[in-house]
């Protein structure tokens, strides 16, 4: 209920014009640049821990290193026995109970925990043909298609910050989601836009559902 009247804010100061979208203060600007960056922090982020080789893992169906869409949103194999579910803003409470339900029904014997990390993390999307070239100035992982094709997820250092990187083209141009601990979000966003200058990167506002 609180979401209704208290404004939620991302760690990344929104570029003007500022408007409220799904209870979050977001940037209302739009960019036609070939390479764009969007603050997707308002998305619900739910974290699941379970045995990597157990029943819950099979039920979730997405292995470590991969990401896949389902009705709820984007499910990411973020680590061994570690999943991250991204969904539309405000969906976290439902997601948590849904996933806890899944665990209780499908893997009652397993030690599973589900945590809403929506507030604990920052989320940024970089989209465009040169998105990989931009990341290549900040991240040491090989972003070529034969190493990290669409649907790949990995965690590595981006500009010195431990970051979940998800290749998520959504059938369009090359696109990456970058997910890091919240208080470093402003820094990471700055590093990306800074390194993006030579590519003419533009800031694009957030639009719900945004996933």
């Amino acid at each position: 209920m609180s979401e209704n009247h208290v404004i939620a804010r991302s760690p990344i100061p929104p570029a003007a014009p500022v408007r409220v979208e799904a209870g979050w203060e977001v940037s209302g600007c739009h960019s036609d640049a070939a390479l764009t960056i969007t603050d997707c922090t308002p998305l619900a982020k739910v974290h699941v821990r379970a045995p990597w080789n157990g029943v819950m893992a099979k039920t979730l169906g997405v292995p470590f290193g991969r990401a896949a869409r389902d009705s709820g949103g984007l499910l990411i194999g973020a680590g061994p026995g570690e999943w991250l579910m991204l969904a539309r803003p405000g969906a976290a409470p439902d997601l948590v109970s849904r996933l806890e339900g899944t665990a209780a029904s499908s893997a009652p014997e397993e030690f599973v925990s589900v945590i809403d990390l929506t507030h604990g993390r920052a989320l940024v999307r970089v989209t465009g043909g040169q998105a990989a070239d931009l990341l290549a100035s900040l991240c040491g992982v090989d972003l070529d298609d034969d190493m990290t094709p669409d649907g790949t997820a990995f965690r590595s250092s981006v500009a010195g910050v431990a970051t979940d990187v998800i290749r998520d083209d959504r059938g369009g141009p090359r696109s990456y989601l970058l997910h890091c601990e919240r208080s470093s979000g402003q820094y990471l966003f700055g590093a990306l836009t800074g390194a993006g200058e030579p590519f003419g990167i533009g800031v694009d506002g957030f639009l719900a559902p945004g996933i």
């Binding site: 990597w52 290193g65 040491g140 431990a162």
Partner: protein, 84 residues
């Protein structure tokens, strides 16, 4: 920078990992003598050659794993297998 094969994430630069030293067995605190305990604390294996160590993938999967490394050449052989 040498590459280390994380059993879970694959090959990554050593800068993503934290070196936590050679694998040592912790003596039983109930029966340990000061000499044994301080051997455990202060006297590392320091061979010029292969040694079994623990590494932590702090920038990646946050898993600890053991690897054998030749301290003369820095060649690393990861001793564990994650999921495949």
């Amino acid at each position: 920078m040498i590459q280390i094969r994380c059993p879970w994430c694959g090959l990554r630069g050593a800068g993503e990992f934290r070196y936590t030293g050679d694998v040592r067995t912790r003596p039983d605190p109930a029966s340990v003598t000061p000499q044994e305990w301080r051997d455990y604390l202060y006297f590392p294996a320091n061979p010029c050659g292969p040694v079994v160590e623990t590494w932590y993938h702090r920038m990646g999967c946050r898993r600890f794993f053991t690897a054998e490394r030749d301290t003369a050449t820095n060649e690393v052989w990861t001793l564990e297998e994650g999921m495949r």
